[in-house]
């Protein structure tokens, strides 16, 4: 191991291996033993466990911090939490969020939690990078990222999600749907 290279270049790891440049022996030149060895390896793979997940039927467990499509949250009385403050839109690095604010009218107290609400709330899912900064920016816990992902559509228009697509089911009328949509992700 005392060749000239040692003086010039220091080995970075101890895993280096000298290349064997010796001419092939007769057995090696026959190739058949090594071919049989290779075939034994492939044959042994028949009995290996397949890591495949049959996707639409079977789903992989997500990590608790997985960031999927957005959900607009409601409080336990079914009122929308969003006040259209626009902090999420400001925080969004992809500029995917737009909204229009409106004032709550008398008699709408059961629909909106505070005096101001988002009349229009749109997220362009093609622009969104699912960074979760909107979730972090929101002071009202009104938006969070769910485990739903891979939306599919035939038109670009279909990827602009409005309030119909984003709002969580009402806990008063559809408690099960609300629970499912939150999926233990909302920590208030």
């Amino acid at each position: 191991m005392t060749n000239d290279n040692d003086n010039i270049m220091q080995a970075l790891t101890n895993r280096g291996k000298a290349v064997n440049r010796a001419p092939m022996t007769f057995m090696e030149r026959l190739y058949i033993p090594s071919i049989l060895k290779g075939m034994a390896i492939t044959f042994s793979h028949i009995f290996k466990k397949q890591p495949t997940i049959q996707y639409p039927e079977q789903k992989r467990e997500f990590s608790p911090v997985f960031r999927g499509l957005h959900v607009l949250n409601r409080d336990e009385e079914g009122r929308e939490r969003c006040t259209a403050c626009g902090l999420c839109a400001v925080a969004c690095p992809a500029e995917a969020i737009t909204m229009e604010a409106a004032e709550r009218l008398p008699g709408e107290e059961n629909k909106y939690r505070e005096e101001k609400y988002a009349a229009k709330y749109e997220i362009n899912m093609l622009r969104c990078i699912f960074c979760g900064l909107c979730e972090e920016a929101c002071p009202k816990d009104a938006i969070y990222l769910s485990e739903t992902f891979a939306p599919a559509n035939f038109a670009r228009k279909g990827f602009i999600y409005g309030k119909d697509d984003l709002l969580i089911p009402d806990p008063v009328t559809d408690a099960a749907g609300f629970e499912k949509a939150q999926g233990g992700r909302v920590k208030i």
Binding site: I35, G38, M39, T42, I46, K48, P51, T52, Q54
Partner: protein
């Protein structure tokens, strides 16, 4: 007039039915061989393979066939139209013609007639197979040339030179088998292996079998000898300009070739329809024929599996390596094997 009437018309009908059954059965088996190839590849690579179309994906080959038929048929502007269409047809015909002399089993008895489960027991059976297999090269050659595409032409040239080089070694390794059996008829070769006191030819000709097997891989254009289809060097190979079912014919003929060469290997070296360690003559002829066919079929399936197993294990040969192996290794080895067999036969005769 009397000579025409005296002709055994029922024999003609019998043979026609047998031809129809064998041709359609080999097409059906080839269909499922494509499916098996995908499944074997998948299993060897820790994947489940196609499993969506029907139970266990069993309808997949039909879906594939439908897809190929429904696709747009493109004939390039500058291609030679007649030859372009002839190419895949010839490849398919040559592949199917091989099945004429293969003895699928002994004979069955129906309505007092003895029906041989072999389309034609000609006394030059194995020569016929060699001739037809050589014709198969024309399918590749014509297709590649008529496409008027340099990659296709290169692939076709490779295919032709490969087939010629390996046919030589194949023929020489076969001569040793013929020296033992003393007949060119496949049926006679099988019956000779089946006879009491005789072992399968693989016992007498292990070296010959290895040479024959390697050459069969090359003749079928299977990996590691699939140089006519070397995608990374030739885009796609000799069938690059083909689309729709014409492409399907080329791909299909490869699988039929595989089945037929498996059948020939089973007949020449592994006793054909002989059931190992079992005397069929104690059974009634119909059951013996059925069991014999199943035995041959099992042998064919095992061979096809080995073909696939090799394909998904070994990388492709380089062109000069291919030629070196064919001319400098296999042919001398086959000649040596022939010499050895001859010497052995002479020594036994004393």
């Amino acid at each position: 007039m009397t000579t025409i009437l005296a002709f055994d018309w029922i024999l003609l009908l019998e043979k026609l039915i047998l031809i129809a059954i064998i041709v359609f059965a080999s097409l059906g088996i080839a269909l499922y061989t494509t499916f098996a190839e995908r499944k074997v590849a998948a299993v060897l690579q820790d994947r489940p393979g196609p499993n969506r179309a029907g139970p266990f994906g069993l309808f997949q080959p039909f879906a594939d066939g439908l897809k190929l038929i429904m696709k747009e048929e493109i004939i390039p502007n500058t291609a030679n139209k007649v030859l372009f269409v002839l190419g895949p047809g010839l490849a398919m015909t040559a592949a199917l013609m091989t099945c004429a002399v293969i003895p699928w089993s002994t004979s069955v008895e129906f309505f007092g007639r003895k029906i041989d489960l072999q389309i034609a027991d000609i006394n030059i059976g194995i020569l016929y197979i060699f001739g037809v297999v050589s014709l198969g090269v024309y399918g590749i050659m014509i297709g590649g040339w008529a496409s008027n595409n340099k990659f296709s032409l290169m692939a076709a040239l490779r295919g032709a030179s490969q087939a010629i080089s390996y046919e030589l070694a194949m023929g020489l390794s076969l001569i040793a088998v013929l020296m033992i059996s003393g007949s060119l008829s496949l049926k006679a070769i099988v019956e000779q292996q089946q006879a009491a006191g005789n072992l399968w030819n693989i016992v007498y000709q292990p070296l010959g079998f290895i040479i024959f097997f390697i050459c069969a891989l090359a003749e079928c254009n299977r990996t590691p000898f699939d140089l006519p289809e070397a995608e990374n060097e030739l885009n796609f190979g000799y069938h690059q300009e083909y689309s729709s079912m014409k492409l399907g014919f080329y791909l299909f003929s490869e699988y039929i070739n595989m089945i037929m060469s498996s059948a020939v290997m089973a007949c020449l070296f592994f006793g054909g329809y002989d059931i190992p360690f079992f005397d069929e003559s104690t059974l009634s002829p119909n059951i013996a024929a059925l069991l014999g066919f199943l035995a041959l079929f099992t042998k064919i399936i095992i061979f096809i599996f080995v073909f696939m197993w090799i394909r998904w294990t070994i990388p492709r040969f380089r062109y000069d390596q291919l030629m070196n192996l064919g001319w400098k290794r296999l042919i001398p080895l086959a000649l040596f094997n022939m010499l050895l067999t001859g010497a052995f036969i002479l020594w036994k005769q004393g």
